[in-house]
Symmetry: C2
Subunit: 426 residues, 2 copies
């Protein structure tokens, strides 16, 4: 007999053979109720007499399909035969049949290889899968070419610290903090490119916000008229992603009892200097002078967007020149500002982007002013001698989007096997 997938159970099927994991197991007198999960769904199986099986076992079940309007799928199975495919030698250190695992973060992550089996934990990564699918789809619809750029680089570019060093044969090399320079170069080739790739950041902070390895959703587009073309595209991307999550991920959202934010057709834009004034006047909070905006400032900016525009999304624009990397286009009308922006969602920055400098002389001059050593960046710089298009783009942190949608306490919960200052395992 061929295996039937749970999602394929329908009117007209009589006998089926199912395979899956026992997610829940109850007995009422002689009757046993098994909640079975395969990679397509869950279904209840009722046995009058049942072989001895354990919660968490992988089993094969043969039985009869019976209509049951009370069941989510519309069916239940009257089990007839059961075979154990794989059983546990020991009980799991926690009960996956409970509604919530209620583990501390460190336990949740220490026992990650099995805590992931809990349906509510799985749901995080089913949503993550939808996020990737929607991003891939919308980027292609908009004419972006998917690219893969190197993660091992010769020079700690972008003038920043926080690079991991690697031994590359006889040389020293670094792990890329972003595909920034490569994706810019590629606007001169494909005009529009996107990349889904690993981002390495050697940030030494141990917080619920920091991870040292994550998956970036990057994009870069040429032939723009202004950086508003970039924010408009990013707006469109979020509309599409949230539509996809709504359509395919509702059951996962339900497990967390969250309502998905709606994405405005036009996400409000506000200049950094203006929002800082509003935060001061309206919420009586002064952003520390050593930073352009701090997490509390982002939270209050978001609160303002919610109160004023009923939006969970907000573009903060025109970040100061001195805070932004050398490739960021200065604002011609006020050179102390740039055409750089952040996208804030539910109080947290999830994307950073800008228009970039596309003229060789301007780039050289901006690097000089910022004291960036062009050594090792010649390959990048030289490319700008050869007719690069006006361009801009963004980098999005993928895991953080899912964290914020589900209101998870730490971004680490949205990474399968997170890496932080203290955690390299599992």
């Amino acid at each position: 007999m061929e295996r039937t997938l749970i999602s394929k159970i329908e009117e007209g099927l009589e006998q089926v053979e199912l395979k899956g994991r026992i997610l829940n197991l109850r007995k009422l007198g002689n009757i046993s109720f098994v909640l079975l999960q395969d990679y397509t769904g869950q279904i209840q199986i009722v046995f009058e007499k049942m072989k001895d099986v354990k919660l968490g076992d992988l089993i094969l079940v043969r039985g009869k399909v019976v209509k049951d309007d009370r069941a989510k799928t519309g069916f239940e199975i009257h089990g007839e035969e059961i075979e154990v495919i794989s059983s546990s030698a020991e009980d799991l250190p926690f009960d996956i049949s409970k509604k919530d695992l209620k583990l501390q973060l460190s336990n949740l992550l220490d026992f990650r290889t099995t805590s992931l089996r809990h349906p509510k934990v799985q749901a995080i990564f089913k949503l993550y899968d939808i996020l990737l699918e929607e991003y891939e789809t919308v980027m292609r619809e908009e004419g972006f070419t998917e690219v893969k750029t190197p993660k091992i680089i010769e020079t700690a570019s972008e003038g920043g610290a926080n690079f991991f060093k690697i031994k590359y044969f006889e040389k020293e090399a670094f792990l890329a903090q972003s595909p920034q320079l490569y994706k810019q170069i590629l606007t001169g080739v494909f005009e529009r490119v996107f990349e889904i790739g690993t981002i390495f950041r050697a940030e030494p902070h141990f917080t619920t916000r920091h991870i040292n390895e994550f998956t970036g959703l990057d994009a870069e587009m040429g032939m723009i008229d202004s950086f508003y073309d970039v924010t408009a595209m990013l707006n469109k991307v979020f509309i599409k992603i949230f539509e996809g999550i709504k359509e395919k991920g509702q059951k996962y959202l339900d497990l967390y009892e969250v309502e998905l934010s709606s994405v405005p057709d036009k996400i409000p834009h506000i200049k950094l200097i203006e929002i800082k004034k509003i935060i001061k006047d309206k919420y009586n909070y002064s952003i520390p002078t050593e930073t352009d905006i701090d997490p509390e400032g982002e939270r209050l900016a978001s609160r303002y967007a919610k109160e004023e525009f009923n939006s969970d999304f907000l573009f903060i624009t025109h970040y100061p020149w001195k805070e932004k990397p050398f490739y960021t286009m200065p604002n011609k009308e006020n050179p102390e500002e740039t055409l750089g922006f952040d996208l804030i969602f539910k109080g947290v920055e999830i994307a950073t982007g800008s228009q970039r400098i596309h003229k060789y002389e301007e780039l050289v001059e901006n690097m000089r002013k910022k004291g960036v050593n062009p050594k090792g960046l010649e390959f990048y710089l030289e490319t700008f001698k050869f007719s690069m298009p006006p361009h801009g783009g963004w980098g999005l942190g993928s895991e953080r989007i899912i964290q914020l949608i589900l209101n998870l306490g730490s971004v680490k919960e949205a990474v399968l096997f997170p890496r932080d200052v203290k955690r390299l395992r599992p």
Copy 2:
């Protein structure tokens, strides 16, 4: 006026504004012919009088749409106005209007940021984009969940050499050679998973076959009955990928004058021991004893598959136990063999896979026999105490597929910015 994309030019449109790069420029008397490319296509523009522009310039053109049955798109543009958006300060070191760049590999790669602008070079990566899209699509259709596993790992797992070392804060860590252990663990969670991720290999060989960083297309599936479920799935994946390339990529294949191989409905399988005998008897070649099969052996195996089954694809199966990593399932009928396979395409190995051991005791025993130190792998090993499904999977080298489809001389041509022993730049 709004920009019109070249692919959107159609009957009924009169005036258009196009933006793109000048790929070719010819003059016949007073008439100028411009071949313009944007990210959706190419079109010819004819000017009676034209401003001075250069090959490679990015321009904006306003003009009239004229039907022209000789043109590939069915239209040409009678140019009226032209504006230069971005021009080169210097001429490119090569002529992108020529049919072929004819650069030596080292020059092609040294000048990579601009040699990529040649349409024939671009075509490689447009096909690569289709490959990624088709892989993502077919894996989702088959119920695989897309996952991202860590690239920084604590232990040089899989018992192999060739790991890059990194400094991870106060510790030493390694770059992952594959998502192997993680994807196996995840069959216990999602049953079917796939990953598109960076693979790091510190192989010190400088050849046309070796790159030190590439993009792997990995998959792992649970609840299999035998490893033939895995080869059947991989067969299905290639049918879908090649259909997609045929449908969307023909114009890129045409530039290379290649005919796409057809993928058999059932790719032939042959045991390693048998193909070795055939290679000896039929082609009089003895595979060196220190290896299971060498590149020449793979070439001849493939020749046999072509001659005997008219297939460019061949599964070689049952690789010897002593050559395969500890997680590979031994063949119960002959423990000197494993249930491991390679997929050969046009004479070259493009995928490696196997059924894996899924029982804790067997895994411990196989590691012991192979002398693999379980230290640092406890998180992996312990998971097998908890009802893991019978499972198997594969790892595919994405770049090599495109190399072989286009008959490129080196796999490095199929990587945007390749990394080899000598090359860390651009």
